[in-house]
């Protein structure tokens, strides 16, 4: 039975007037709230420039304050924007690895992430209150959200054994040996100008495909290494022979070869293309989650309302148990976030352990990237295909609050571990599926013939096309945009279902996906295409939004309005007006006179949004204003994005 708008009856009150730098966050926050059935309204009590504040109230709990700040350090009030935070947290650097220079992502990414985490925090806090915890507020900062998105890359850059550098990620022996060559990477371009992604998780299709194109095995082999590692490194420097071979064939011919060899292919589509898909509008309307429950069968017995605990450090989900059977990034990140909210997460791995544990760079004998997403979990090695393994999983699910998986579509049914199977033995269970595409059914959907991986989902969903519009050449990002947001969305969905369980005494199934996360990320674009009224303030376009080279380092500067431009001109002692062609030239000439750090300090006093563009992620832990969000060690850990009071 479909469960639309599971938080109907809840209320979210927010400020009437929202400062421009919080506008994208507010728009996404309100969109998500309304999709859940939460009634939104303005409240004078929520006014303020230092933070974006909401009050979240359920029919059974007093209001919880949901606070969104710019930085973790409350004394740091430097105005930020999406691009400033992307620069400050290293996201521009990671996304820019394929361009060999930092680049803005072209999406309100950190803003969307911040909104999702903030909403989840307020919902979790309400669960805590229902369970007897004296929690009255949840706080998330943009900076914390930005650092969370970089968790794996920060771990890789700070690992105690052979940490990764951005330069190492961008180059290979092949590209270094060709003078004047520039790194080549997906997406690819055909003879007739179609931009597209390729995907395979195995060497077989890759070998056959390039052999059909006449590429030698040595080049194909070097290409495979770069292609294989691109998810981890955000770079894929392929030998020149590969894109060159592609450029000689039409897209139609390449598609035929893909079909013959088992390689998946997807053109980079626009948001407009995606908006015309049959399922697109419904996904936009319902939000990035789909909820359902069983209308018949045994009812929960209410034991899940057991108290959270009596310790001051107890978190909203303390005492809850999550069983996680997930691989790679999206699913494990969801489990990690639930662990950060206090849940006990039991991770199921195959006998011998998850092979990702061995993937360099390493920290104390285990992959640093793996630990970034899994360090808080206990592990059970289970063969899920064996009868004994399935019995063990059913027994774990019997006593759990949440079961989360990201198995291939249809696999849960084959294993007799689908929602119906587990709800029959535990009616209060929240059963969660974090998929690639919009459905976990084995029924054929055109997108289901492709691996549900981040970069394929970026291409199909229109996200890659939107990144292209932001100036990133062919589009797309090798930063795992949708894996990270998808993990947050999956954790959100679970938290929402847990609150619904508390309010309505019902377990539920919650489905989310990389595709639905993409819809969330581009929600305002879809709203415009469907000509629907805005739910919040419309973010405006800044007058200046650039990166400049300085005497040492680069600086990101953003001037949202003419007043800020005039202050910038005054600080830089530029007399030419911005409409003058010489203005930008003046900026480029003046910035090299000081270091990026010196400029940022000057601009902070003048109220001009700016940030040093972080190019080496290992530098993050040296920055005073970000240190509270990081914990150094055998690799640098990103701390929980939530603070509860």
């Amino acid at each position: 039975m479909s469960m639309n708008q599971p938080l109907t009856g809840c209320v979210m009150k927010g400020p009437k007037n929202i400062t421009p730098d919080f506008a994208p966050i507010a728009a996404s926050f309100l969109y998500q709230s309304q999709a859940l059935g939460i009634q939104t309204s303005a409240n004078e009590n929520c006014a303020g420039d230092d933070a974006l504040c909401f009050e979240f109230e359920t029919p059974r709990t007093a209001p919880v304050i949901c606070e969104i700040t710019r930085w973790e350090d409350p004394s740091r009030q430097a105005t930020v924007s999406e691009n400033i935070m992307q620069a400050a947290c290293g996201l521009m650097s990671v996304h820019g690895r394929t361009h060999r220079q930092p680049k803005p992502l072209g999406l309100n990414y950190i803003s969307t992430l911040t909104a999702a985490l903030a909403l989840q925090g307020s919902i979790a806090a309400s669960i805590g209150r229902l369970r007897g915890l004296p929690v009255s507020s949840s706080t998330v900062s943009m900076a914390a959200a930005g650092l969370l998105s970089m968790s794996q890359y920060i771990a890789g850059a700070s690992a105690s054994e052979s940490p990764e550098t951005a330069e190492a990620a961008e180059t290979t022996e092949t590209t270094r040996s060709l003078p004047g060559s520039s790194p080549t990477c997906p997406p690819f371009v055909s003879l007739d100008g179609v931009i597209f992604e390729l995907e395979t998780l195995d060497t077989g299709p890759w070998q056959k495909f390039w052999a059909e194109l006449g590429v030698g095995s040595a080049a194909a082999g070097k290409g495979w290494r770069a292609f294989l590692l691109r998810y981890a490194r955000a770079a894929a420097p392929l030998p020149d022979e590969l894109p060159l071979a592609i450029s000689k064939l039409t897209y139609h011919r390449i598609s035929q070869i893909c079909a013959k060899t088992g390689m998946a292919i997807c053109p980079v589509r626009s948001i407009d293309d995606r908006a015309q898909d049959d399922d697109a509008r419904q996904i936009w309307q319902q939000g990035p989650w789909s909820f359902s429950s069983f209308s018949s069968g045994p009812k929960p017995n209410g034991e899940y309302l057991r108290p959270a605990g009596a310790l001051p450090e107890d978190l909203p989900l303390s005492g809850f148990t999550v069983i996680e059977s997930c691989r790679r990034i999206q699913g494990p990140l969801a489990g990690h976030l639930l662990a950060l909210l206090g849940a006990t997460v039991i991770r199921i791995e195959p006998p011998g352990g998850d092979p990702l544990r061995g993937m360099p760079p390493m920290a104390e004998g285990c992959s640093a990237r793996f630990q970034a997403l899994n360090r808080l979990k206990t592990v059970r090695e289970i063969d899920i295909k064996s009868a004994a393994g399935k019995t063990e999983i059913r027994e774990l699910a019997r006593h759990a609050d949440v079961f989360l998986h990201n198995w291939a579509p249809g696999k849960a049914v084959l294993l007799n571990l689908d929602y119906g199977d587990l709800a029959a033995i535990n009616p209060s269970l929240v059963y969660a599926y974090a998929g690639g595409w919009a459905t976990d059914c084995a029924e054929h959907v055109s997108s289901n013939s492709m691996p549900g991986t981040d970069f394929m989902a970026q291409a199909y969903s229109g996200v890659a096309g939107k990144v292209a519009g932001g100036g990133s050449r062919r589009g797309g990002s090798l930063f795992t945009v949708l894996d990270v947001l998808g993990g947050v969305v999956a954790a959100q969905g679970i938290t929402i279902a847990l609150l619904n369980r508390c309010m309505n005494n019902a377990g539920a199934k919650v489905t989310s996906s990389l595709m639905s996360a993409a819809t969330l990320l581009c929600a305002e674009d879809f709203r415009d295409i469907y000509s629907l009224p805005a739910s919040g303030p419309k973010p405006s376009t800044s007058i200046i939004n650039e990166i400049y080279a300085t005497r040492q380092g680069r600086i990101a500067v953003e001037c949202p309005d003419m007043d800020t431009v005039l202050r910038l001109a005054e600080v830089l002692d530029i007399t030419a007006g911005i409409e003058n062609k010489g203005f930008q030239r003046c900026l480029s000439e003046v910035f090299p006179l000081r270091t990026a750090n010196e400029w940022v300090e000057l601009f902070q006093h003048a109220g001009i949004p700016s940030a040093v563009v972080i190019e080496d992620l290992a530098d993050l832990q040296t920055l005073t204003h970000l240190q509270s969000g990081l914990t150094p060690g055998s690799y640098t850990q990103v701390n929980s994005p939530w603070r509860f009071k």
Partner: protein, 90 residues
Amino acid sequence: MPITISIPTILRPLTGNQKRIEVDGSSVLDAIERMEQRYPGVKEKLITGDQAHRFVNIYVNDNDIRFSEGLSTRLTDGDLLTILPAVAGG
């Protein structure tokens, strides 16, 4: 001159914590068999039958053996055999 095998961190508990070991071997399979004789248990972490495990990548001087003759790839003195655990996708 023997073959040098670079051991990934995850397997070093099986090789006495050594990062690099030297063995003789005319092929990749031969070198793995000789490594197994000295350090029992390492072979099953790398291969099953005539194939490397899906998440184990083996390189001879930076060339992926899957793109040459697989485990039958010939070795010559002084070659460097690198083992890289890696998982595709995300």
